[in-house]
C-alpha cells in the first residue's frame, strides 16, 4: 500500500484515498476534431509505460478530490515528488538505489 504525498493536503496519505489517473502531461489537442487518425490514436492510446521514472496523475478522490501529478520510479515504486495539476513537468533527482547500512 503506497504512501502518497498530496500536494494540496500537504500530507502523506494512504494509497487507499487515491486513484491512479494515467500518464501525466498528455494535453488534449486544442484542435482535436482536426487531427488525423494516427494523431488521435497517439493521444488516446499510446503511453510511455516507462520502466523507471514515470510522470503520472493521481486523484485524491477520497480526500481533497484534486487531481495532481507525481514522478515515480516504476521499478522501486518510490515517489520522487508530487506537484499540483497545471504545473509543467518538474525535474527530479535521480532515483536512489537504496543504501547499505
Amino acid at each position: 500500500m503506497l504512501l502518497i504525498h498530496c500536494p494540496y493536503c500537504e500530507e502523506d496519505r494512504s494509497e487507499l484515498e487515491f486513484r491512479w489517473a494515467g500518464e501525466a502531461h498528455i494535453a488534449r489537442p486544442e484542435n482535436i476534431s482536426a487531427i488525423s487518425d494516427e494523431e488521435f490514436a497517439e493521444f488516446f492510446f499510446l503511453r510511455n509505460n516507462e520502466k523507471g521514472l514515470t510522470y503520472e496523475r493521481w486523484r485524491h478522490i477520497h480526500g481533497c478530490g484534486r487531481f495532481f501529478n507525481a514522478a515515480r520510479d516504476t521499478i522501486s515504486d518510490k515517489f520522487l515528488m508530487t506537484y499540483k495539476a497545471g504545473l509543467p513537468k518538474q525535474p527530479v533527482p535521480a532515483s536512489g538505489e537504496g543504501e547499505t547500512r
Binding site: 500500500m1 503506497l2 487518425d37 499510446l46 510511455n48 520502466k51 515504486d77
Partner: protein, 417 residues
C-alpha cells in the same frame, strides 16, 4: 532426446536416475540466427518450438534476461478457458485450448492439462445477460459453455454458498467443462526441452539492450549483455517488458504494465474440484494438485515493474472468496506474489507485424497469457515464418487502435480473466 515414459522412469529408478539428460542445453550464442525471439516464457519458447516443428526453421535463439519460464509463465494462476465473446478472441483461445488438449503428448512432457471445468458465477440480472450472450456466441462458434442453475452449480462445487441471504446471491453460473488448469512450469520446460531438442538455442541471463536496424530500417539483430547477435527476423514476446523492448526499435505500443497478485493457501485435502470465477465480487479460485487453494487477486491500479503490490488487493480478494465460500475463513494464506501484466486499452492482445521490417510483436495478453500459450505461440510462429498473420490472429493487429476496431472483451463483460 530421451523419450519420457513410465518405462523410462522404471529403468532409471533401478539406477538412481543417473541416466536422465539435461532437459535443455545452455549454449553460448552464435554470431547470428535466422530468428531471434526475445523472451523465454511459454509464448516465446513455444513459438521457437513451432517454428522448428511446423515451419522448418531451426536456426533460432530465444533470448531471456532472467531464467526461462521465470516471468508470467511461472507466476500465474494457470487458468485455461476459451469461452470469450468476440470472434477474434474465440479464434485464438479455442485454437489454444485444442492445442492444450494434446500438448503433453505432442511435447512428450506432462503439462497436466486438467479439464476440470471453469465456472463463472452470476450474481444478478446483468451477469446473467452477459453470460448468456457468451454462452450463445460460444455455442454457435462450436465452443462449449453452458448455463447452470444455482443448484446445478452447487452440485458441481459442493462448497459453494447458494443461499439467498448472501450479500450477492448466486442466480446461476456459466460452465466451460473443457476449461481447467495446467502445470505452469511444465509448459515452459516442456517447450524448452522440445525446442532445444530441435536445435533451438535458449540463451538465459542475457538481456537485450538494443535492436540494431539496417539502412532501410530493417532489423539486423540485437545488442545484448553478451554482445551483438545478428538476426534476420526478431519476434518480441516479452510480456510486461514488451514496451521497453519495442521502444528499442522506436516502436510504441499501447501498453500498461501493472502488478497482478496471486496467493496460495496451505495445502489441504481435495475440497475444490474446479475453477470458479466471479466478476461481480472480483475473485477466482482453484485448488492445485498439491492441495493449495490458488487464488487470483486483482491488479494494482498503477503501472509498475516491481512484481509487488499492496496488501489491500489481497484482502479485497479474500473477503470476496470467503463471502462465496465461508468455510475457507480459517484457511491460511501461505504465499503471495506478483507478476507484471501487459495490458492494452481493449484488454485484448497485440500480435502482428510492426512498422519495422523484420520485427514482429506478441504482447498485451494481460491476464489471459497463460491460457493462450500454445495458441499464441503457434500463431506467432506462423507470423514470423510467413511474415503475415495467420487467419486466426488477423484481428490482433496494432492498427486497430488507429481504426477503432477494438476487441473490447472488458467492455462487453466486466473484467476478463
Amino acid at each position: 532426446m530421451r523419450k519420457y515414459s513410465v518405462f523410462a522412469i522404471a529403468r532409471e529408478a533401478m539406477r538412481a536416475h543417473k541416466g536422465w539428460d539435461a532437459q535443455w542445453t545452455s549454449p553460448e550464442p552464435r554470431a547470428s540466427y535466422d530468428v531471434i525471439i526475445v523472451g523465454a516464457g511459454g509464448h516465446g519458447l513455444g513459438a521457437a518450438y513451432y517454428l522448428a516443428k511446423e515451419h522448418g526453421i531451426t536456426n533460432i535463439a530465444v533470448i531471456e534476461k532472467g531464467w526461462l519460464g521465470g516471468g508470467n509463465t511461472g507466476r500465474n494462476t494457470t487458468i485455461i478457458r476459451s469461452n470469450y465473446l468476440y470472434e477474434e478472441s474465440m479464434d485464438i483461445y479455442e485454437h489454444s485450448l485444442k492445442l492444450w488438449e494434446g500438448l503433453s503428448q505432442d511435447l512428450n512432457y506432462n503439462t497436466m492439462y486438467s479439464p476440470r471445468g471453469v465456472m463463472m458465477l452470476s450474481h444478478n440480472v446483468h451477469d446473467q445477460q452477459s453470460f448468456k450472450r457468451h454462452i450463445n456466441a460460444n455455442r454457435l462458434y462450436g465452443i462449449d459453455n453452458e448455463w447452470l442453475t444455482p443448484e446445478q452449480a452447487k452440485d458441481f462445487v459442493p462448497v459453494l454458498d447458494i443461499s439467498k441471504t448472501a450479500r450477492y446471491p448466486i442466480n446461476g453460473a456459466a460452465l466451460q467443462r473443457r476449461g481447467g488448469t495446467a502445470r505452469h512450469d511444465a509448459v515452459a520446460w516442456g517447450y524448452a526441452r522440445a525446442a532445444s531438442d530441435r536445435g533451438v538455442h535458449i540463451i538465459q541471463n542475457c538481456e537485450v539492450t538494443g535492436i540494431r536496424r539496417g539502412p532501410n530500417g530493417e532489423v539486423q539483430g540485437v545488442e545484448t549483455s553478451k554482445g551483438f547477435i545478428g538476426a534476420k527476423k526478431i519476434g518480441v514476446s516479452a510480456a510486461g517488458h514488451s514496451s521497453v523492448v519495442m521502444e528499442m526499435a522506436g516502436v510504441r505500443v499501447p501498453l500498461h504494465s501493472n502488478p497482478l497478485q496471486a496467493l496460495v493457501s496451505e495445502p489441504l485435502k481435495p475440497i475444490f474440484p474446479c475453477v470458479v470465477m466471479s466478476n461481480t465480487v472480483h475473485a477466482y479460485i482453484s485448488q492445485s494438485d498439491k492441495g493449495e487453494l490458488v487464488i487470483g487477486a486483482g491488479t494494482d491500479q498503477y503501472n509498475s515493474y516491481s512484481q509487488t503490490g499492496g496488501l489491500q488487493i489481497i484482502t479485497h480478494t479474500l473477503d470476496a472468496i470467503c463471502e462465496l465460500f465461508p468455510i475457507f475463513r480459517r484457511v491460511k494464506m501461505m504465499r503471495q506474489w506478483g507478476g507484471i501484466t501487459d495490458n492494452t486499452p481493449d484488454r485484448s492482445p497485440i500480435q502482428g507485424v510492426t512498422p519495422v521490417p523484420g520485427l514482429f510483436v506478441n504482447c498485451g495478453w494481460g491476464t489471459g497469457g497463460f491460457k493462450a500459450t500454445p495458441g499464441s505461440a503457434n500463431l506467432f510462429a506462423h507470423l514470423i515464418a510467413k511474415g503475415e498473420p495467420h487467419r486466426l490472429a488477423a484481428g490482433l493487429t496494432l492498427d486497430r487502435f488507429r481504426t477503432g476496431r477494438l476487441i473490447d472483451e472488458a467492455a462487453a463483460a466486466a473484467v476478463a480473466h
